[in-house]
C-alpha cells in the first residue's frame, strides 16, 4: 500500500515509517505540520493516510481537520487518525460523512503491531477501526437500552462498533462464529436495529444508534 504519514514527533515518525516499510508498504510522503498535510494527500493520492491529530503550528486538531478536508476533496479517501487521547466527538466528526475508510485510534495501539496493521488494512479496504476507548465512551453515555444486554452481548457490540468482522470477534472472544452471529442477532433485536450484513454498513448502523 502507498501511505502518507503526518506526524510531528520525529521519534514516532521514524518508528511509524520503519513499522510500515517492514510490513512491505511504501511511505509516499511524510508531513510534519498541519498545512503540509492536505497538499501531500492531494499530490500522492495514497491508499491510506495515517494522521496525527495534534500538529504544529497550532498544536490543536489540525490533523483531524486535514482529514475531514481531504475527504471532501477525495471522497472515500481512507484515513487513520492517531491521537494521544480520544474524544467521541472527534469520532462523530470523522464519521459524519457516512462513507467508510475511517480509523480513529489511540497512539498506544501502535505498540500492538499486528492489531495496528490489521486496523490499517481494514481502513484501507473501506472498513472502520474505532478505538475501544471511543466505543466505551459511547456505550457509557447510552446506558439505558444497552443495560438490557448481557455482558457477552455488550462485548460483541463493543467489538462490532470498533469495526471488527465476525471471525475476528470470534477469535478475540474465543467462541465460534456461529455464536457470534447469534449474539449479534440478539443485540440487533434488543436495540431495535434492522438486521444488516456485516462490514462497514453494520458498523455505521451500530454507531448511528450509539450517537442518536
Amino acid at each position: 500500500m502507498r501511505i502518507v504519514i503526518a506526524e510531528d514527533n520525529a521519534l514516532l515518525r521514524e518508528g511509524l515509517v520503519l513499522l510500515l516499510t517492514t510490513d512491505g508498504h511504501e511511505v509516499a510522503a511524510v508531513a510534519e505540520d498541519g498545512p503540509g498535510v492536505l497538499p501531500a494527500l492531494l499530490e500522492h493520492r495514497p491508499d491510506v493516510a495515517v494522521l496525527d491529530v495534534r500538529l504544529p503550528p497550532g498544536f490543536r486538531d489540525e490533523g483531524l481537520r486535514a482529514a475531514i478536508a481531504a475527504r471532501k476533496e477525495i471522497p472515500g479517501l481512507p484515513v487513520l487518525v492517531l491521537s494521544q487521547y480520544v474524544e467521541e466527538t472527534y469520532a462523530a466528526e470523522l464519521l459524519a460523512g457516512g462513507a467508510g475508510g475511517i480509523g480513529y485510534l489511540l497512539k498506544d495501539r501502535v505498540g500492538r503491531v499486528e492489531e495496528f496493521l490489521d486496523a490499517l488494512r481494514r481502513v484501507a479496504a473501506g472498513g472502520t477501526a474505532l478505538d475501544p476507548e471511543v466505543v466505551a465512551q459511547l456505550m457509557t453515555s447510552r446506558h439505558d437500552p444497552i443495560s438490557s444486554l448481557t455482558p457477552r452481548e455488550r462485548e460483541v457490540l463493543g467489538l462490532m462498533a470498533q469495526g471488527l468482522d465476525n471471525s475476528t470477534i470470534a477469535t478475540t472472544l474465543v467462541i465460534t462464529e456461529r455464536s457470534v452471529s447469534k449474539h449479534i442477532g440478539a443485540v440487533f433485536a434488543k436495540l431495535g436495529l434492522p438486521p444488516s450484513d456485516s462490514g462497514h454498513r453494520r458498523v455505521l448502523a451500530v454507531l448511528a444508534y450509539l450517537y442518536s
Partner: protein, 411 residues
C-alpha cells in the same frame, strides 16, 4: 390616603418601639459623664469591657431593628478582641466602633425619647382637637388651639380644626421622616465605617488567599502522588521486566518473550494513567477546541438533552487554570446529574463578567445534593477554592439542583 396612614402607623410603631432602646440610652447618657470622670481617674479602666457590654447589647438590639426597617442587615463592626485585660482595654479604646456606639447612644438618647413620645401623642391629639368645639367652654381659661386663645364660638369652631389639620400633617409627613432618620442614624453609626469595612475585606481576602494557596498546594501534591505512585512506579516495573528479559534472552527466549509482552502491557497501563493525570491537569480538548467547544463535547456525550448557553464573550480565552477548573466543574456536575439526579434535562450557562467567569449547571432532577457523601461536589469545591473562587449549591429536595461557580480571572 390609606397608604399614607398605614405608613404613618408603621412609622409610629417603629418610633414607639424605639423607646425600648431610647430610654436605656437616656440613662446611659446621664451616666456617661460619671463614667468618663471615673475612667480619667483610672478607677473604671479595668472594667471597661464590662461597662461597654450593656452599650453593645443595646446597640445590637437597635442594629437588628434598624436593619429590618432598612431592609439590609447592619453588620457588627466589632473586631475580635483577645489577649490580657489591659490590652483588651487599649484595643477597645482605640477601636472606632466603641466611640461610634457611644455617639449613637448620646444622639438616640436625646432624640429617640422625644420622637417616641411624639409618635404616641400625635394620634390622640387629633381626636382631642376635633372634639374641642364640644367642650371648649368647660376647658380652663386660656386654652389654646393653633396658638390662638379660645374665647369665642367663631374661634372655637375654626381653630381646633386647623389644629387637627396641622397635627394630621405632622402625622403623615413628619413621622415617616423621623422613623427613617432614626433607622439611618443606627445604620450610619452602628454599622462598620468605610475604613473598617475595607479592613475587614482585606482580612477576608488574606484569609481566602491563604486557603486558595493551601488548596492549590493540595492539588499539586495530588498530581505528584498520582505520577509518583502510578506512572513512575509502573515505568520502573517495565524497566525491570525489560532488564530481566535481556538477561534471559539467550537462555530462555520464551520466558524473555513473555517478559517483553508484560513490559508492553505495563507501558500501555502507564499511558492510560498518564492520560488520566493530564486530563486532571488540563484536558487536551481545551487546547483543541477552547472552553465552549470542550463543553459542547461534554454535552454531546450525555444521554439527556443539555441546553447550552455559551455566549460569544466566553470565547475570549480566560487563564488556562480557570478554563481547566470550569471544564472540570461542568464535567463533574454532568457526571453527578447522570449518576444521581434522575433528571430529564440539564442546562449549562457560561457567563464572562469583567473580572470573573461564572459557570452555572442546572438540572430538573430530584435535588437533595450535598458536598457530603463523597459526591463529586466536594471535588468541585476543592478545585474552585484553589483558584479563590466560590461555589454555591442550591438543591432543595424534589426541585432539581443548581450549581453556581464563580472563578476570578484576574483582568
Amino acid at each position: 390616603m390609606y397608604r399614607a396612614l398605614r405608613r404613618s402607623a408603621a412609622a409610629s410603631v417603629y418610633l414607639v418601639v424605639g423607646l425600648r432602646t431610647a430610654l436605656p440610652s437616656m440613662l446611659g447618657l446621664y451616666l456617661l459623664p460619671f463614667a468618663g470622670l471615673l475612667a480619667m481617674l483610672f478607677v473604671l479602666v479595668p472594667w471597661l469591657p464590662d461597662v461597654l457590654r450593656p452599650v453593645r447589647a443595646l446597640a445590637g438590639i437597635e442594629r437588628r431593628r434598624a436593619g429590618r426597617a432598612l431592609g439590609r442587615e447592619i453588620p457588627e463592626p466589632y473586631p475580635a478582641v483577645e489577649g490580657p485585660s489591659l490590652e483588651r482595654v487599649v484595643r477597645l479604646l482605640r477601636d472606632p466602633s466603641t466611640w461610634r456606639d457611644l455617639a449613637w447612644m448620646v444622639l438616640h438618647g436625646l432624640s429617640g425619647f422625644l420622637m417616641g413620645v411624639l409618635a404616641i401623642g400625635l394620634w390622640p391629639s387629633i381626636l382631642f382637637a376635633l372634639s374641642m368645639p364640644l367642650w371648649w367652654w368647660a376647658a380652663p381659661e386660656g386654652s389654646m388651639s393653633a396658638f390662638i386663645v379660645l374665647d369665642s364660638w367663631p374661634k372655637a369652631l375654626t381653630m381646633p380644626f386647623l389644629q387637627a389639620a396641622i397635627n394630621a400633617a405632622c402625622l403623615i409627613w413628619l413621622l415617616p421622616h423621623l422613623a427613617r432618620f432614626q433607622a439611618r442614624l443606627a445604620g450610619w453609626l452602628l454599622g462598620p465605617s468605610r475604613r473598617s469595612s475595607l479592613t475587614e475585606r482585606v482580612e477576608r481576602l488574606t484569609e481566602t488567599r491563604a486557603e486558595a494557596l493551601e488548596a492549590h498546594g493540595a492539588e499539586l501534591r495530588r498530581i505528584e502522588r498520582d505520577l509518583h505512585d502510578g506512572t513512575q512506579a509502573q515505568l520502573v516495573a517495565v524497566a525491570l521486566r525489560l532488564g530481566l528479559a535481556d538477561r534471559r534472552f539467550e537462555a530462555d527466549p520464551d520466558a524473555a518473550r513473555e517478559l517483553f509482552l508484560q513490559a508492553r502491557d505495563g507501558v500501555e497501563e502507564a499511558l492510560t494513567q498518564l492520560r488520566a493525570v493530564i486530563r486532571g491537569i488540563y484536558p487536551p480538548i481545551l487546547s483543541d477546541r477552547g472552553l465552549p467547544g470542550a463543553i459542547r463535547t461534554l454535552a454531546a456525550g450525555q444521554h439527556i438533552p443539555v441546553r447550552l448557553e455559551l455566549p460569544g464573550e466566553a470565547e475570549a480565552r480566560v487563564p488556562a487554570a480557570v478554563e481547566a477548573a470550569a471544564y472540570f466543574v461542568v464535567a463533574e456536575a454532568l457526571t453527578n446529574i447522570a449518576r444521581h439526579s434522575g433528571a430529564t434535562k440539564a442546562e449549562v450557562v457560561l457567563h464572562r463578567a469583567d473580572s470573573s467567569l461564572r459557570v452555572l449547571v442546572r438540572d430538573d432532577g430530584k435535588g437533595g445534593a450535598g458536598t457530603a457523601g463523597g459526591s463529586g461536589l466536594a471535588g468541585i469545591r476543592r478545585r474552585v477554592a484553589a483558584l479563590d473562587g466560590t461555589t454555591r449549591i442550591d438543591s432543595p429536595a424534589g426541585q432539581g439542583t443548581t450549581l453556581e461557580v464563580e472563578l476570578p480571572c484576574g483582568s
